[in-house]
Symmetry: C2
Subunit: 94 residues, 2 copies
């Protein structure tokens, strides 16, 4: 199990992930797409990464707006795994 | 634009949709799948129906648990369109 990342480290890690925000035990990113199906394609991409890594973010679909939330439930907060996955998710939208 | 369904009619319509619950201006269904990717396949099916009908439910993905919420934003509440879509969504899981 990965270790929890402390709040100072979170701020450092988030500087490399400008699209993500920190809230409590989570980081989240809100992405707006022009088309509903583009958002769904993105969700499918996130799901593929999630399944490969055995780490499943919460995902909210609100028409063309998708919110992805990451935390490590087993660890009770944010771990390196969350920040690595955030980077992979960002790569989907590059 | 479809007309709002009144609360009496909502109860009648929901009798045919036992998996759905009524909350305020929405009806919602929570579905648990055995596998994460089964839930994602279901979301893809809902998205296809949504896009075909031009009516997009809110969808929350929490690992294997998917919540679908239906309302008619333009009408400011529930219309026939929501109950028709609920039925179509149920057909995905039959």
């Amino acid at each position: 199990m990965s270790e929890l990342v402390d709040s100072e480290e979170i701020e450092v890690l988030l500087k490399k992930l400008p699209e993500w925000e920190h809230e409590g035990k989570e980081i989240f990113r809100i992405i707006e797409f022009d088309e509903f199906m583009d958002g769904i394609d993105f969700v499918d991409g996130v799901a593929e990464i999630a399944e490969e890594d055995g780490h499943h973010p919460d995902i909210d679909i609100r028409w063309c707006t998708i919110t992805v939330r990451l935390t490590s439930h087993e660890a009770g907060g944010l771990t390196d795994i969350d920040f690595e996955m955030a980077k992979k998710i960002d790569n989907l939208t590059d």
